[in-house]
Amino acid sequence: MKKAIITVVGKDQVGIIAKVCTFLADTQINILDISQTILQGYFNMMMIVDIKDTVNDFATISDELEKLGKDIGVNIKLQHEDIFNKMHRI
């Protein structure tokens, strides 16, 4: 398993989760966990995903997700899970 975190932040609208999930399905990325909330009118989502089966490298997926975010009008970020583990776990 190779875990990464996807964060989606932006103005709420119809179909954000659908579009992101479709992209992930198309690129063979498995979703392990989703938490989502609306904070002050803004859509906030965090997904823990497994990227071991995808053929693309990390930078490519990251760029494509960023582009998808621009198309939808939200901010999408892909980060390796270690940055969060290191910062928040001793």
Binding site: I5, T7, S35, I48, S62, Q79, I83, H88
Partner: protein, 454 residues
């Protein structure tokens, strides 16, 4: 498992509070490049540096992508050139040739700076070291990315006052030679006492002779993050304030440690140290002054400033030390004036003076940094300022440094624009009473006593 709140906290630090990894610096040993022919030496240096650091920039960019954290600078430090060029360089021009070679390497590799055009003359100067120091103004004029430093003293050896006298002149001469660009050459030259061998920050980085052949050192930063943490402790007592800073420093440093390990593995170069220094940038919110003001000072420079800085510095170290397996370099808080909007504002408001900055350097890392002074300031006065700062380092067993810019053609009331990360600065007044006779004595100040600490 990681939760939404933690992810949001990390990304808020990066996106809104300017958390970044300030620099990945590769230290490269050049002792095996030594030859008594200057051209062969330059070729050896070129080959070694470009080969060792070939993938530095690319690796840095990959790590940025992987973790979503900016890595602002990719830099190189090399063995002090006074050692490397000792047998080949017969003239100042020979040393300048090496500087140009280093500049060429840095340009081709796409790194931000290359440091190590340096001499360690804590106790005495060899002929080569004197030549290198005398070549510094020319070298800094003819190169863009080369940084230079001279270590003129240490707690173990005392102060080499001949060198202090000489570097005062060198600072002045560098200012003259680069006067078309507001004397910017001086922004790339630092004078040290107790210089560390593994500092990743410029302009004072060099790869000390105690180091391995190549090493990765990383400098983390995040004054904006610390400032927001301090804000959350508004009105709380000092115990809670300190805890808050410590916890934040821990988080920031863990990111640095992660990046350092990753870079070390990708480049196949051993990991050296994490430098815990909090380094500001001219960007709004990325300021040490703001951290101090958030603690409750109206302006930096007000009474209480030195105590506030002492708290900040010590807590950053306490949090950072636990977060990293190896800590080194300068590790503290930097207080460069031109690179910190809060400091600039404080100087302009009349709250912060050169003398108060000197007091602040007693409790933080490094020293008088990026301070613009009138161009008419004499070489001996500059030596006097350097001597004072070096004495603080020598007596207190800490690293101190001076990076001061006498801006030729400008005086108090004017400002100077350096651009980029170097920022801009108001020209600060300097005490105009003379120290000529003191500086012109020459010789050494003996090493201090290590007992009867009072």
């Amino acid at each position: 498992m990681i939760n939404l709140f933690e992810v949001a906290e990390t990304n808020k630090m990066i996106e809104q509070e300017n958390l970044d990894v300030r620099t990945i610096t590769i230290g490269i040993g050049l002792l095996d490049c030594i030859d008594n022919n200057i051209d062969v030496l330059c070729e050896n240096i070129y080959q070694k540096v470009t080969k060792t650091a070939k993938n530095l920039v690319e690796t840095g960019e990959n790590i940025e992508k992987k973790y979503g954290i900016p890595i602002v600078n990719k830099r190189i430090s090399v063995t002090p050139i006074a050692f490397v060029g000792a047998s080949a360089c017969q003239t100042k021009e020979d040393f300048v040739k090496i500087a140009k070679t280093l500049d060429r390497c840095a340009n081709e590799l796409g790194v931000n700076f290359i440091g190590g055009y340096s001499a360690i003359v804590s106790k005495g100067m060899t002929k080569a070291e004197r030549l290198l120091i005398e070549s510094i103004p020319q070298a800094l004029k003819e190169t863009q990315l080369v940084c230079s430093s001279v270590n003129v003293g240490s707690t173990k050896t005392g102060l080499n006052m001949d060198a202090v006298q000489l570097v005062g002149k060198i600072v002045k001469e560098t200012a003259e030679l680069t006067k078309e660009n507001d004397s910017i050459g001086c922004a790339k030259f630092v004078v040290f006492c107790n210089a560390p061998d593994d500092n990743p920050f410029m302009a004072g980085a060099f790869h000390g002779v105690s180091e391995a052949d190549a090493i990765i050192n990383v400098g983390v930063s995040g004054p904006g993050v610390v400032r927001n943490a301090i804000k959350s402790a508004k009105g709380k007592d000092f115990g809670e304030l300190c805890e808050t800073i410590k916890k934040t420093a821990f988080k920031i440093t863990r990111v640095g440690q992660l990046v350092a390990r990753e870079a070390s593995a990708a480049l196949n170069i051993p990991f050296g140290i994490i430098d815990l220094s909090l380094a500001p940038t001219p960007a709004v919110g990325d300021s040490i002054a703001d951290c101090l003001q958030e603690m409750g000072l109206e302006r930096v420079g007000a009474p209480g400033t030195t105590a506030a800085l002492a708290i900040l510095n010590d807590q950053v170290k306490k949090g950072g030390v636990m977060a990293s397996s190896y800590v080194g370099g300068l590790s503290g808080a930097f207080i460069p004036v031109s690179e910190d909007q809060g400091m600039i504002d404080a100087v302009e408001a009349g709250a912060l003076t050169l003398e108060k900055l000197e007091a602040m350097t007693c409790v933080c890392s490094v020293g008088l940094d990026m301070i613009a002074i009138p161009g008419k300031t004499s070489a001996s006065t500059i030596s006097g300022i350097i001597a004072d700062e070096m004495a603080i380092g020598m007596i207190n067993q800490k690293t101190t440094a001076v990076r001061i810019i006498p801006v030729i053609g400008k005086d108090v009331g004017e400002t100077v624009e350096f651009g980029g990360l170097l920022g801009y600065a108001p020209i600060m007044p300097v005490n105009h009473f003379s120290c000529d006779e003191f500086i012109n004595r020459g010789g050494r100040i003996p090493a201090p006593i290590h007992s009867f600490k009072n």
